[in-house]
Structures are given as structure tokens and as C-alpha cells.
Subunit: 193 residues, 2 copies
Amino acid sequence: MITAFENYLRQETSLSDADIHQISSLAIRRKLRRNEFLFREGEVCRHKVFVISGLLRIFGMTPDGGEHILQFSPETTWTIDAESYDRQTPSIYNIDAVEPSELLLWTKADFDSLLTRIPQLKKFAEQLISGNTYSGRRRLLTALSATPEQKYEDFVQTFPRLLSRLPLRMIAGYLGISLKTLNRVRQAQLLRS
Amino acid sequence: MITAFENYLRQETSLSDADIHQISSLAIRRKLRRNEFLFREGEVCRHKVFVISGLLRIFGMTPDGGEHILQFSPETTWTIDAESYDRQTPSIYNIDAVEPSELLLWTKADFDSLLTRIPQLKKFAEQLISGNTYSGRRRLLTALSATPEQKYEDFVQTFPRLLSRLPLRMIAGYLGISLKTLNRVRQAQLLRS
DNA sequence: CGGTCTCTTGACGGAGTTCAAAGCTAGTGG
DNA sequence: CCACTAGCTTTGAACTCCGTCAAGAGACCG
């Protein structure tokens, strides 16, 4: 469990074993069942979250119950509502588990102290945040300009691994199209091949 | 011109006059005419940009010539393709001037050295970047979930000052709807009041 | 003063949404 | 481990709303 996280750090960073140990020693373990919420809109996001196994999603809800998904977080990725976490203000998003998941959590206080003590960790964290910002921007452009076909094609290219793990209605909720349209697109794609 | 920038820094930060002077002494002045490009997709974004006066936009182009606008930058704001700037890779976006504009530019080398020399500037820059990321995320949610009416209403609330300065086709390009639909929405809104 | 860009409007076509029903799958609980 | 059920997928029909095409009037700039 924890070793999965430590291996991840060894692979992705050049942190020392001592540092890695220090980081994971402050982690809180947590499991989520399928469909269980990590937190709901209105609450404050109090933890950094690393997904060891499983799959989370962060999404917003419309008054009529529609779910619009901003991001999926499969194993060996981080997730969080950065805005709520940084400012400690109520979040407008929800996070729940698409699959049964194992998580590591850090309180903001703990993680902040790690960031000051381990500059290399800070640099790594900043890289991750930047990458997230960039892909968010690309995604906004796609949302504004692409047809449903292009959106789906884009999704398949970007997340081939997730395709089989997600209910179609979530893919639709991620792409911002209706389930019906998603089916049409997939139908058309089958005929082409 | 430059004083406008220095006043901005005095107001928004607690930087010393010496620091402020150091920052502005490395700035390059630049003017853009209406519709003039700051850079085009395929080029590398080599400068930090502060808008003293005027109005810029950053946008992506579709093969058929459609312009999809990611962000407007009026006076006393910063703009940039962060992804291209940070990694020094070709950008997929364009930046041009909606109005005649006066800019300050810093090369990446110069600005990086300022960031190391003036920690407070670094902190300020990080705040700006975060804020940008957060609003980008909120915007993605809107793009995915809102109706044209809601998108327009949202725009009016968020940028009341920009409304009269922008051609309608750019507002449409920002909201991801057609000019025709935008007109319909505005028509309906007139009738309601 | 000419020309380009902008805004507005109309008609039309079609793509996407909504509603509904049916069969199937997979997760749950006994 | 099996049976049941809730949820998922697929499909159809009808409709709505948005986009495309087109034309004309007006505003602004050079």
C-alpha cells in the first residue's frame, strides 16, 4: 500500500529515502467504496490526496442533478480541489470514488511543513500543478471548439486506459455531451473500422 | 507609462521602491496596434507580458478559421501562454491586440533572475498564477454545463467593464457559442427588462 | 468619402437533447 | 455462491434549439 506510494516517488523524483520516509510517515490511510464521497461541495478541502489504487473523479453538479466531471484521478495520481485547499474556503466541487479506492491523505499543516523542509518536494509539487494547469487550458479550448466526435476521439487518445473502466454516462459527463450523443459517436466510429 | 506599472506594484504588493525599480528597469516597452499579433501559434512565448493600457486576447484557431478565446487581458493585468513560456516549447495559442495597447515585456532569463532575487515577487507571481488556474477551472465547468443564457449572464457579471469594449463576435468566441445565438440571448434579455 | 467591419434579422436544416422503453450487466445481499 | 435488483447500455421517436447561410443597414477608420 504505502510502498506503492514510495515506489512512485522513487520513480518520479530524486528524493532521498529519508525524505520519502518522512513524507509517507505523515500520511493518513483511507479507503473509499464505490460511489462513496471524499467530500461534497460546500465543505472545505482539508487534505492533499494521493490515489494508491482505484479511481476518483472531481465534478460539479447542476441544480437538476447533472454531473459535470472536471477530472479523473486513477492510481498513482494526486487529486484535490486546489482552490478550496489553498484558501481553505468551501469548495464548489465534489469528489467521489468511481471504483473502490485506497488513498493517502495529508493535512494541509503537515504537507506545508513537508514542503518547507524538503525543497525538492516543493519543486516536484509545482511541476505537477503546472502540468495540471496546462492540460486544463487545453481542455477548455477543446470544450469551446470541438465537435462531439473530436471530443470523444481526443478522450480516447488521451485516456485509453480509462475507457473500459468508466460508465459511458461519466464519459459523457466529462465531455459535456449527452449520453445519447456519445452513443451516436461511438456507433459511427464502429462503422468506420 | 512605466509609472502606471510601478503604481500597480505599489498597490498590489508590499515590494520596496528599490525592488520595484529593479523590476521595471529590466522591462522592454512595446506597443501594439489594433489587431496586431504579439505572437502566433507555433512560436515560442519568450516574454512575460504586462498590459499597461489597451486590451489583449489569447485564443486558439480552428482549421476553418474560428477563433476561440481563452482569456482577455485588459490594462493592469498579465498575460502569457504559461505552458509555452515555462517549457520554451511552441505555443498552440495566439495573442493579439483587441485595442491599441502598451505593453511591458521581460525575457524569461531576466524575469527568472528577478524571481530568485526578490522572493516577495515570486510569492506574488505564484498568487496570480493560482488565481488564474482557479478561474480557469470554474470556466471549464461553465463551458461544460451552462446554457448560452447562463454563459452570457455569467460573462456580464464577471466582466461588466469589458462588455462595451468588445465586438460581439469576440464575446461569442469567448463563450463558445455562435454570434447568432449570442444575439438571440441578448434580444431575450432586452425583452425581460 | 469609400470601404471594411460590425450588428441585426430571416429562413432553413440538422445536430443534439429529452423522454421513454427494453434488454443486459454487474454488484449486492442473503 | 446464487439470485435479485439497481444501474447501465442501447435504441427509437419527437422536438427544440443552435448553427449555417445570406442579405441589408449602420458605424467606424483610414
